[in-house]
Every structure is written in structure tokens, then in C-alpha cells.
Point group: C2
Chain length 459, copies 2
């Protein structure tokens, strides 16, 4: 059975039409992106909503769903003889459209005259799409940026949040590539190697699977920096953190993090912190069920972290109160996870609050909790990450200590003994199946014993 058949795309568009109700839905495909001159391109990445509803992985297209006229059209250009000489024979746009159940195609210059009074479009995250929409709708860039359709966003979120069988299969494939990228890193990350050399091996593992990264990997001896994209350090001692994912052929994302010692085994200090993070992950997986608020899962992970750190003397006082106040965020300043799908932060372009929150639960403004991308109730078919972490961020510790922030809960003299420790994050991907969190992809060494055993086996 073809899980990405014409019928699937036709049904998705029919559902979208029903949800939006009236007017015209204009879905912008992406163009090529220029690096240092117009024709030097980054690897093409199609827009994810365009992929979801129209499935065609080619630049320069626009999909128009006219609800009132009950007509679907893909706008774009057919290849010329010059195109064929330079880039080879191309499939006809009409044929590509037919494969996803769209019967009409037309050149782009016809689009503008086709547009009526009510045109729904998504928030444009690519500047070229702001310019194009502005030209077609004769509006300023500011008006386009502000003019996206909330009914369309809510409808797309409603559909894309619940993954169908074909999407779960793709997420499994993405997680499989992701696992192979991580096992490769765990082999390459040994003393004397430099970060970019580990990255080179990971990239090779992805490329040999005809895949690519779903986001720029974090490959670092400085795990305390949440998004470190500098790869110049040599691996000498301490901890090494790797956060990376691959894409499936249909562009579904994997996202995984592992942290391990450059040496074969953890020091006691490292293992103590590591075990807290691993416990927070396990507790979160148990807690993440259908109908549970993901915000509650996040807070439960925070509580595991606070209690663990209290046992080590780094925190003090009542842990529930400390978490409620946000004191734990000195160590765990980010969210527990996010939706996963065609985007590694799924649908982030549609606005994090409309994706991860709803009428029932809104985003907190508290440091730490404000960075939680997913707060609402989990549902059958939701795919998401779980990624707790503990970090010792010198600049943040210094700032909070100087402000005496949360002095009732934070044992600063003891904390200062962890400067230079770095950071630990552990992350897997899950989806809700039969009400419970099911792991996506194969298991990759996770507990301190599994990690040490794997690393020892390389000697």
C-alpha cells in the first residue's frame, strides 16, 4: 500500500478545505536560496506545509486551493530547452501534479489575476516569499508579514499535528538514520579528535544513507552552551555533547542528543549528574501519555532534576517550591521537548504558540519555562522529543549569584565547584501510540553502563 498515494494528498487538501471553510488557500512552495550570489544555491529545501499538501519537491511552485470554486491548481514553469541543456530532462509539472491528485497547472504569471478577495496564506519565513506575495497581492512587506491567516494556520496545525501511518514510517526512517549518525559520532569522539572531525564522520554517515541533517548539529566539548555551532575544539577530557538528526527521503526529521565522557568512563562527578538527566528522561517517557499536558511532563522532569541536585547538595529547600519558582532553570534553562515531523521543530514557522499551546494552556513568561515549545495535551499520533538537560553556564551562574537570585534554593558555593563541568543533555524521539509514548527508531546506548560498555568496546 502506498502511504503517500494521490488519495492521501487529495484527502489532506479536502480536510483543509473543510476546516478553513471559504476563500482561497495559497500555499507557497520554496525557491532556491542563494548563498554568496544568486545562482550559488544552498541545498534546496521545500516548504513543509507545501510538502504535506502537495508533495512536490521542486523549487518555484505555488499551490492554490480555491474553496469557493472547488478547484486546485499548481502554478509554476515548465522547463525550456536551455533548462534541459543545463540541468537535464525534467518531469512535466502536469505529471507531477497528477501524481498528487491535482488536475490543473498554470504558469506563475497567471496567478495574480486568479486571486480573489479572501486569500489565506501562512506566515512567510522566507524573505523571497514576502516579496512575491507583496507583488501578487499589491501589499507592502509589512502588510504581508502581518497578513497571514489564523484560520489557515490553525487548520494546518490541526492536521499536521496528528501523524498518519505513512508519516510515522518516515519518522522511523529518520530516527534510524539519526541513530546511525550518533553511533558514528560515539565511535569518532575520542581523545585528540577535533569537533569538526567528529562532525565530518557524522555527515559521512548521513550522506552514505542518502540523507542530510535535519538541523545544524551541535557537536561540542562545551555542552553548557545550548546551541554551539563552533567546531574547532580538540577533545581532551570531560564531556562531549552531540545533538543531531537526519532526514528521511520525504524530509521527516530525527533529533537525538547523547552526552558522554571523552575518556572511556565517567568520573563520579559526571556520572552523578548524568544519572539525574537519564532519570528525568525515563520519568518523562513514563509520564508522557495521551491527554496529559506536556507542560506537566516538563515540570515533572524539572522536579526530578531539582531533587537529584538537592541530593548532591547543589540545590536546597523544598523541591516542588523551587521548581514552581523556577530556581531549577539555572541548570535546566530550556524546554523538555517539541513537536517533530516534517520540521525538526515541527511547524515552528506557523508560530510556536499556535502549535504548542492552545486555549487551555498558554506559554509562561518564567525564565526556562518560557522556552518550552510544547505545552498542550498530547494526543494519539503526536510525535515529539523528550530532552532534559543539566548545564553549568558560567555567565548565568555569575549573574544569578551576583543578584542573589533564588538563594533559598540554590547552594552557590557548591555550584561554583562545577564551573567547567559543561553540560549534559539526553534526547530521544517518541510518538503517542495506543495512548503511550513509543520510541521512534532503534535504541542507542543511553544509561551510563550502556554508554561505557559501548565506548569500551571500541578500544
Amino acid at each position: 500500500m502506498d502511504l503517500f498515494s494521490e488519495a492521501i494528498y487529495t484527502r489532506r487538501r479536502a480536510q483543509l478545505k473543510t476546516l478553513v471553510g471559504n476563500g482561497q488557500i495559497l500555499l507557497m512552495g520554496n525557491d532556491e536560496s542563494s548563498s554568496n550570489f544568486e545562482h550559488n544555491h544552498y541545498p534546496f529545501r521545500q516548504d513543509s506545509s507545501f510538502l504535506y499538501f502537495f508533495g512536490i519537491d521542486r523549487p518555484g511552485l505555488v499551490g492554490l486551493i480555491d474553496i469557493d470554486a472547488n478547484k486546485e491548481t499548481i502554478f509554476g514553469e515548465e522547463a525550456t530547452i536551455d533548462d534541459v541543456v543545463w540541468t537535464g530532462p525534467q518531469a512535466l509539472l502536469a505529471d507531477l501534479a497528477a501524481r498528487v491528485g491535482v488536475l490543473d497547472t498554470a504558469p506563475l504569471h497567471r496567478l495574480s489575476a486568479t486571486l480573489g478577495a479572501t486569500v489565506h496564506f501562512l506566515p512567510p519565513y522566507r524573505p523571497e516569499n514576502i516579496l512575491k506575495l507583496g507583488a501578487w497581492l499589491t501589499k507592502t512587506p509589512e502588510a504581508i508579514t502581518a497578513g497571514w491567516s489564523k484560520p489557515l494556520v490553525e487548520s494546518v496545525v490541526a492536521l499536521r499535528s496528528v501523524k498518519d501511518d505513512g508519516e510515522i514510517e518516515e519518522l522511523e526512517k529518520a530516527s534510524k538514520v539519526t541513530a546511525s549518525i550518533h553511533l558514528t559520532a560515539m565511535k569518532a569522539a575520542v581523545r585528540g579528535t577535533r569537533e569538526f572531525e567528529v562532525l565530518a564522520e557524522m555527515q559521512h554517515a548521513a550522506a552514505m544513507a542518502n540523507s542530510s541533517f535535519s538541523f545544524p548539529p551541535i557537536v561540542t566539548t562545551n555542552g553548557q552552551t545550548l546551541h554551539n555551532y563552533y567546531y574547532g575544539h580538540e577533545l581532551r577530557e570531560g564531556l562531549f555533547l552531540c545533538d543531531a538528526g537526519g532526514e528521511s527521503a520525504k524530509h521527516y526529521a530525527g533529533d537525538m542528543t547523547r552526552t558522554y565522557p571523552v575518556a572511556t568512563t565517567f568520573t563520579t562527578k559526571e556520572r552523578e549528574i548524568y544519572d539525574i538527566v537519564a532519570s528525568a528522561l525515563q520519568a518523562s517517557v513514563q509520564a508522557a501519555k495521551a491527554d496529559i499536558l506536556f507542560k506537566e511532563v516538563h515540570l515533572q522532569a524539572a522536579l526530578v532534576i531539582a531533587e537529584g541536585l538537592k541530593d548532591l547538595g547543589l540545590m536546597k529547600g523544598e523541591s516542588v517550591e523551587a521548581v514552581s519558582a523556577g530556581a531549577h532553570a539555572l541548570f535546566f534553562p530550556h524546554g523538555l521537548g517539541h513537536m517533530l515531523g516534517l520540521d525538526v521543530h515541527d511547524m515552528e514557522d506557523l508560530g510556536e504558540d499556535l502549535v504548542g499551546y492552545d486555549d487551555e494552556v498558554s506559554r509562561s513568561s518564567q525564565f526556562g519555562l518560557k522556552s518550552l515549545r510544547l505545552g498542550r495535551r498530547l494526543q494519539e499520533g503526536f510525535a515529539f522529543t523528550i530532552e532534559p538537560g543539566i548545564y553549568f553556564i558560567p555567565e548565568l551562574i555569575e549573574k544569578w549569584q551576583s543578584e542573589k537570585r533564588f538563594a533559598d534554593y540554590l547552594n552557590y558555593p557548591k555550584i561554583l565547584g562545577y564551573l567547567g563541568f559543561g553540560g549534559i543533555r539526553l534526547e530521544n524521539d517518541y510518538y503517542i501510540k495506543h495512548g503511550k509514548a513509543e520510541l521512534l527508531g532503534p535504541a542507542v546506548p543511553l544509561t551510563n553502563t550502556e554508554v561505557e560498555d559501548f565506548r569500551k568496546s571500541l578500544d
Copy 2:
């Protein structure tokens, strides 16, 4: 001696000021580019002219050279504590500016009020820069797109065309990485391998040198397609073409092409065509000297190709006339080369005609010759590629034959016997030193014997 010292950048800006004469010169740095949502970024690539005059490899900056007020300022934002938590400690903008001799920095919101009546800017190739310039100068996107400064473009071209010692050193480094990428490909491209697997090995070679590609590589069993970016075919027989380059640490580009048989040795038919292309390359290197029109070098290569093909019976009639008419372009439909520097097609964003042509020589409209990017006289310090090729493009042959185009010069019945042959291109990088074309980087197997010997040595 530091070939990229503060003094070098200061001198480049002083020269630019003198050439432009008056007003304000606004050089846009690049931003991060989004792939599938705003915060999922492609690898950052700074604008090349910004790198040339300001040297700072960080997103979100603007350089302003106020000629009338004799003041240079870099506009941009310093990191906040949130930035430090997420992306680690950052160098101060003021410190980065001082290293390239710029004494003033200011936040971006101050830029607009600083701009006077005469603001020179370069043609924006990134849509976000069109939007930003429009907001700062209160102009429409169309006015910005049309509003670039010809005096500024001509001045930047005058300076960037002639490479200084530091730039030649960087080009040598880029060519060295490029050679290693190609040797890796020559080892990997064996029967049974797939194109993306060869690409994976090439990417690995670049990444292990802490480098990246200067453009998306062409790695193909279908060399007749000039820019084939599909990598799915298995290597079975016939020819394999690889066109790829690496970047130096300061983002100077290499660009090299090799074509070789999937089998260890060439067939007679392959070797005959190969030798013509190799001869065209050698003849071009001899011809490329200071004060010679590169258009003449191109035409000389075309003549070598036409005569070689005549010897094989694929062309007929007087070769000089055939080349003058453009008949050879059925086989050699692209230009012989282009400028090379911070961009692989150096300064292509400034407009190919203002870079590669001048008052003396303008671009032809003839098929083939119209694709020649560099036509003007070579000068000491110019860096450029030489890349002749012979291709059998089925769609083009079919079209021309049906139109009986150049039937006096083209032996169509014989040509049809080469359908399925593919294409051969050979390319090296050079610069003019002491009046002559000097090879950039180490030699990589080129003659049919060198290629066969190298490939045999892998068995």
C-alpha cells in the same frame, strides 16, 4: 607578515573611497538564511564584498563608509545574556571592528538616521537585504532592486579583480583542498558505487580539512547535463564527471573538473574525445596571458575542439568558419571560464557583464558564446578557471538536427552514433603571474595516461 592585517582592510577601503569619490557606501553583510523555518539555518555565508572590505565573518552586520564625513562604522548588535546562554560567549563587535581598522560601531537602529542623500549600495542578491534596504531608504522593493550604484560596482570590481598576495595564498589553499576532494572522488568512483556515495566521500574529504564546498558539486554519470545535481545513479560503465571545489578558511574558492571512465581504462571512442578536451585545455593555458582577451582564448579552445571533431568526422567544412558561426557550440555550449576569488564565479552578484566585459568587449548573443562569463583582457593578478568540454546532449542534437542547423559544419549521421556517450569537461584554476597563466594548487591527474595510471594504482 599578516596578509590579512588591519592595514590591508584599511587600504582597501581607502582605495574604494577614492574610486567612488563621494557620498556614502553601504555594504550589506549577510544574515542567516532559513531553510524550513526561520531559526533552522543553512550554514552561514558572509557576503564576499563585505568580507573583502570588512573581513568580519558574522551575520547581521552592515558596513558604512561615509566618504564625505571620512568615517567608517560597522552597524550590528552586541550579544545579550540570552545569546550567551544559547550560543556561548561572543567577541565584542567593537573588538572585531578594531581588528580590521574600523573605530566606530553602532546598533542597527541608528543606521537609518545616518543615511544621507547619496547612498551607494551593491545589487542585493539576498531578498532579506532588499527588504532591509527598502525599510532604511523608504523605497519599494522594485526601487531597491533597480537602485544599485554603478560607480560602486565598477570600483569594487576594479579592486577585487586583481588578487593580492594574501588572496593568492588563500586561492592556493582552496585549490589544495579541491585537489584532495578530487583525488578522493577518483578513488571512490568505481563500478557499483552510487553518485551520492562518491559525493559523501568528497564531502568527508572537505570536512576533515575543516572546509566546505564552494558550490554544489556536479557528481554524475550524465556528464552531458552541464549542471546535474541529482545523485541517484549507480556507476556502471561509460564516463563519470566530477566538478567540485572547496573553500579556504577565509572563503576563497577552488573549482576543478575531472572526467574519467568508470572502468579503469578509456575506450578508444572515449579517449579520442578526451584528448581533444585535454588539448583544448593545454592550448588555452598557453594562450592565457596578460593583455590577451579571454574571449580570444575561448575561441581558440573552440577551434581546437572543432578541428579535433573534424578529424573524427563529427564536424566538417572550414573550422574557423564553423567556430565563427557557432556550430561547435552543439558540443561546447558553455564558456571557457570565469573569474575566481571569494566567489567561485567571482563577483557574479555584481553583474556578469560588469565583471567579465568592459568598454572594449561586450557579450555576444550567439548560443554558446553568450554563456562566456569572462571576455575581457587578462591582467596581472587575475584568477580564473579554464574549463573546456565536449558533450553529446540528446535534446539539443535532436533539436538542431530537426532544424538542419549548421548542416554545412555538423555531420549529424555520425553525431547520432555518440548519443549516450555523455560529456567530458576538464577544469583547472589559474592566475596571471609575471604575465603568464600559473596553475593554482597541486597537479591532479589530467592526461589520459595520468588518469589511467592513477585509477589502475587503486586496483
